[in-house]
Amino acid sequence: MTEAVFAPWDDPTEKPLIRFKSVTKRFGDFTAIDDLTLDIFEQEFFALLGPSGCGKTTLMRMLAGFESPTSGVIELAGEDIAPIPPNKRAVNMMFQSYALFPHLSVYENIAFGLRRAKMPKADLETRVAEMLKLTRLEKFARRKPHQISGGQRQRVALARSLAKAPKLLLLDEPLGALDAKLRQATQFELMDIQEKTGTTFVIVTHDQEEAMTVASRVAVMDEGRVMQVATPEHIYEAPSSLYVADFIGDVNIIDGQANAKGDGTFEISWHEGQAPLHATSKRAFTDGQSCHLALRPEKVSIHSEKPDQIDNAVPGKILDIAYLGNLSTYHVEIPGGKVMKAQVANTRRVSRRSFTWEDDVWLSWTNTAGVLLDQ
């Protein structure tokens, strides 16, 4: 039962596969990557997540060798890769556009890299067959890229970049061109293939759900800096900043002043005439320091009467109800005019819903439900 959890980043003796050491990349006046330091370990499925223009693609292109850092060092397995041109790196990339060669068949696309490496014919055939099998493309080997579907093209691109068994596979928005249903199925397929091959994957995406689903660790980036690197659970439950909290999932933010109550508990005064809120935090706050309480909507409960025996309760009025099928999100205006969201699972039929528009309600949550942030 006590199978070791895969967490090389917590093991100080583990050597990272990739190491960014104070890497900066400028394009003219524009700083795409700003003094970035980051370790990625072997067999990780590492996601670079951020809005467009945050530098995630630049970071990936530096790994592939299409860009070189303005300053700083990138190491692959302990070696500085700056002088190695892209065609000599043990790194392969799956392009956002897939970049399948339109004049070559699926088979020849997959064999392309192996032929460059002068792999003997027999080995090459075995390897391509293996790749075709892995990506379930056996039937399409003779087709040209324009004769197969988008999802199949995506798999060809994956097979082609995996064929050379790279130490590191870079995936640039690999699922961006697929529709929602196919994307979900493909996410699991990617994880499956990553596990089977044991290759280190670095994926660039702007889709937080995708990053959360596939990655062992996620780096949230903004304006060329890494805001937080952690496991998906950690990023979601314990974001280190308002930016990360806001970027990943839905969040309510309540601003106030913190006062220590001992035992890592803080009292937060947030609105005149309202009882202070309570929250626990490992972070230290000086008394009266301004702080932000980040609360996920699903951690907020909704009641018709003021609940007893609860850490935090705030009165409010329902403005809107968004019915999402499995869930309903209530938009509740609280004193001070702020609107909070509370998410409730729809375990009952809609007709028996207990709340409706304009109802006066109470919102409540526990001390440990939220994260207290200083920035």
């Binding site: 060798g65 392969n92 392009f95 050379k164």
Partner: protein
């Protein structure tokens, strides 16, 4: 009714001024030269039976027996093939450079390529006469730089014809290649390099095959008109430069041998049909691929 007029007007025009003239050329190519006006026999005035009886392949037999014509066809082919190859060598780097140039420059570069196409063909050929002659600018420059001691004879040789064809037909080669290279997705080159290609291998294995259609189109666009070229060989070429367009012209205007000139034209057309059909196929295939 409207539709009928719409179709009939251009149709009849082309029939009368394009197709009928060819039938006439074909007919005259089967006639004999005569000291008359018009200078051939038979004509329809002689009555239909005599007219038909008077037609024969004598002129074509004559063309095969006189090796002037053989040589003219062969040297036309040779000049057209070689100059197409030269044009390709000159055009490809230019088209490549254009496709790799910054986005905002490209419309200007395109215009610079097209501009010569709008200026008079005759003038562009003429411009080279002053450059290639014995005392021309090229010789002046070479003598000045010390590369040669005696002026080279370039004008009135086949070399001048090659230069002239490359120069005048260059835009026809650049544009289709540029169009193909411009469409080329840059990430394909990166993908090739990522998979272990050197710069040159990526160029050879990806860029060239993917610009193949542009290259083929460009080659036809140069080869077809070059084969029947008249102005360039007559202005830049010498007396020993044999090109079929020139031969036809001289046969017609200087020797006033209309039947032989017509026969020369018919054979030129037959030679041209092969590349024209191939070109048409290539264009069609390309159009289908784009769908």
């Amino acid at each position: 009714m409207q539709r009928f007029v719409l179709i009939a007007v251009p149709y009849v025009w082309l029939l009368a001024l394009f197709l009928v003239p060819f039938v006439i050329v074909f007919k005259i190519s089967l006639s004999d030269i005569a000291l008359a006006i018009p200078p051939y026999t038979p004509t329809l005035k002689d009555g239909f039976a005599t007219f038909l009886a008077g037609l024969d392949f004598e002129n074509f037999v004559f063309l095969t027996s006189d090796d002037l014509y053989w040589k003219a066809y062969l040297s036309s082919l040779q000049i057209a093939v070689l100059s197409t190859a030269f044009t390709l060598c000159v055009a490809y780097p230019i088209a490549y450079g254009m496709a790799r140039a910054p986005e905002e420059w490209r419309p200007t570069l395109m215009m610079l390529v097209i501009l010569p196409f709008w200026t008079s063909f005759l003038i562009r050929v003429y411009a080279w006469m002053g450059i290639l002659s014995q005392e021309g600018f090229l010789n002046q420059f070479l003598l000045w730089s010390g590369l040669i001691n005696d002026p080279l004879t370039i004008l009135n040789t086949n070399a001048a014809v090659y230069i002239g064809i490359v120069y005048t037909y260059l835009p026809f080669m650049i544009l289709p290649i540029y169009a193909a290279l411009d469409r080329l997705d840059g990430s394909l080159i990166e993908a090739a390099e990522d998979l272990g290609c050197s710069r040159f291998q990526a160029f050879w294995l990806v860029t060239i095959p993917l610009s193949k259609n542009g290259i083929i189109a460009g080659c036809f666009l140069v080869f077809i008109p070059a084969l029947g070229e008249f102005v360039i060989p007559s202005l830049l070429g010498g007396s020993q430069t044999l090109m079929i367009g020139k031969v036809l012209w001289e046969e017609f205007f200087n020797n006033r041998d209309w039947p032989v000139a017509s026969a020369v034209a018919v054979i030129l057309l037959l030679i041209l049909i092969i590349p024209i059909v191939l070109f048409q196929r290539n264009q069609q295939k390309q159009a289908e691929e784009e769908l």
